[in-house]
Amino acid sequence: MVDETCKVLEHEDIGAGYRSLALAAPAICAEAQPGQFVHVKVPALEPSALRRPFSIFNADAASGRLELLYKTVGRGTLALNAVKPGDAVNVMGPLGHGFPTTCAGAPLLVGGGFGVAPLYFLARMLKASGAEPKLFVGGRTKADLLALDRFAELGVEVFTATNDGSAGVQGLVTDPLDDEMIRLKGEGKAFELFACGPDPMLKAVALRATGSGSKGWISMDRHMICGVGACYACIQKTVRGNSRCCIEGPIFRAEDLVW
């Protein structure tokens, strides 16, 4: 973990309240693993304001370019909208435990909305390890399906679902996921599930992992304060009791989660 003052490289509005932020963060990128997060001091907030945690969309160790993908949901993200290329932003990270980057079977990545954020970095590292990840992504509407071009560039096959049917199948992301799980089971092939998104989706994926006897890796998001395990604010119930998302997670094994 390092505390790095980063120059903003790009900050783009990608529509529907989503933004992509690129920072020069060589020290963080050198250590980052998929599924880890960074804790950002938002410049436009009052100096005593808490940091805001963000999943790492991509961390390129060679160039030092750190990319975040976020939705404007509250006071902190709204204030973050104001940062411009050239600004300095203080970032702590990488923090928490990430996803494994090797997979015994077929890696099935499941994202809901901006929950795809940590899955791009994961897909890239899985590809580098020789695995062939597939992405299942859902949203309310087409505008909630993010960064599909980036996954396409990686050569990741993408299955989409929207509640209103404006893209992909009409329904839930678990619909195409179920089809693929059934297909793989039928062929006697193993798979692992990797998920990030809203709680109901995570629960649905975690139960599919445990129910099918597969490994599941679930990214839990709880309101954080410190980001390093010191304050015990970001609690998720697990088989071990009240676990801290920031340090014992954010990636948990599906079978460890208590819903």
Binding site: V2, E46, L50, M92, A233, I235
Partner: protein, 306 residues
């Protein structure tokens, strides 16, 4: 070179700065982000005899100038603390630990103090008794809200330990003086103040409290002047050394505490935003002593002109 050493009721501290209990985990979480050489002690999160799960989520709400929390003292029990936490700490951190303790009864306070003392672990430098957490209603009353009850629990812990004994007082009392006197008479070696101030935040759209516990404790920038006043009042009432905390975000805030009567200070909520605050306070304090002709930081204690 300013002499930064202080003695807090028998605890020798290489610098007058520690961490506020509950904001610094069990002491190792901030390795890599905080310069531990600038700390005279690390104050760990509260422990009791048995493990405790803490409160339901959500446990905090950010407010302008601070933070309202109701973590609820989630923590490991004393056995795990002594078997695992303290050895791990000792392997990684070289400054003494102030162990914050709590319990649901007088006997439970004494028990955890006794076990910490009997372990004779060199890293355990002092005990801080939490008699003022606003978020856990153990035993039906808060020990820090009645001077008689306070004297009883402090006396019991005093009998159970030879370690320096610090009592952390509640800020929400009409006058701090009877509590200060109760601690003094019961054999405390030092006082720490202030704990968080009872507080509440409401989500007006949902018409619900933002914190699952409904109420919590306010910490951060906003409570600092209230804390300075209580330290001033306590220092005027006792010779016991005072560990002051509440809204230290920069050296100026710590210096106010020393002038009001503090012997040492604890940085808390500010660390969440700026882990470098410990170093900034240390450097600013040394600079201030130099500029104002104080050879030792301990000479600042109570150096207020009134």
């Amino acid at each position: 070179m300013i002499d930064m050493k202080v003695n807090l009721g028998g605890l020798e501290m290489a610098t007058p700065i520690t961490t506020a209990s509950g904001t610094f985990g069990y002491g190792t979480e901030y390795i890599g982000a905080v310069d531990y050489a600038k700390l005279g002690a690390v104050t760990a999160k509260g422990i009791r005899v048995e493990p405790w799960p803490g409160n339901p989520m959500p446990r905090h709400a950010e407010v302008y100038g601070g933070l309202v929390n109701a973590i609820g003292l989630q923590g490991t029990g004393v056995e795990h603390f002594l078997d695992v936490t303290v050895p791990w700490y000792a392997d990684n951190v070289k400054v003494p630990m102030i162990v914050n303790i709590w319990g649901g009864s007088v006997d439970a306070y004494a028990e955890v103090a006794r076990r910490l003392t009997d372990a004779h672990h060199p890293s355990v430098g002092a005990i801080e008794m939490n008699v003022s957490c606003p978020n856990v209603k153990a035993g039906g009353h808060t020990f820090g809200q009645d001077p008689k009850v306070l004297a009883e629990v402090v006396s019991a812990v005093r009998r159970a330990t030879t370690l320096p004994l610090i009592v952390k007082l509640a800020p929400n009392v009409p006058s701090i003086v009877p509590y200060v006197k109760a601690c003094e008479d019961a054999g405390a070696d030092a006082l720490s103040m202030i704990n968080t101030i009872p507080a509440m935040v409401i989500d007006i759209e949902k018409r619900r409290p933002l914190i699952a516990n409904k109420t919590g404790g306010l910490s951060g920038r906003g409570i600092h002047p209230a804390a300075v006043k209580l330290v001033y009042d306590a220092h005027n009432a006792t010779k016991l050394p005072i560990l002051a905390m509440g809204g230290i975000y920069e050296a100026k805030d710590a210096i106010e505490f020393f002038l009001a009567g503090a012997t040492a200070v604890a940085v808390g909520t500010a660390t969440f935003t700026n882990p470098n605050v410990v170093s900034e306070v240390y450097d600013g304090l040394a600079d201030y002593c130099g500029r104002h002709g104080f050879a030792a930081v301990r000479d600042l204690t109570g150096a207020l002109e009134v």
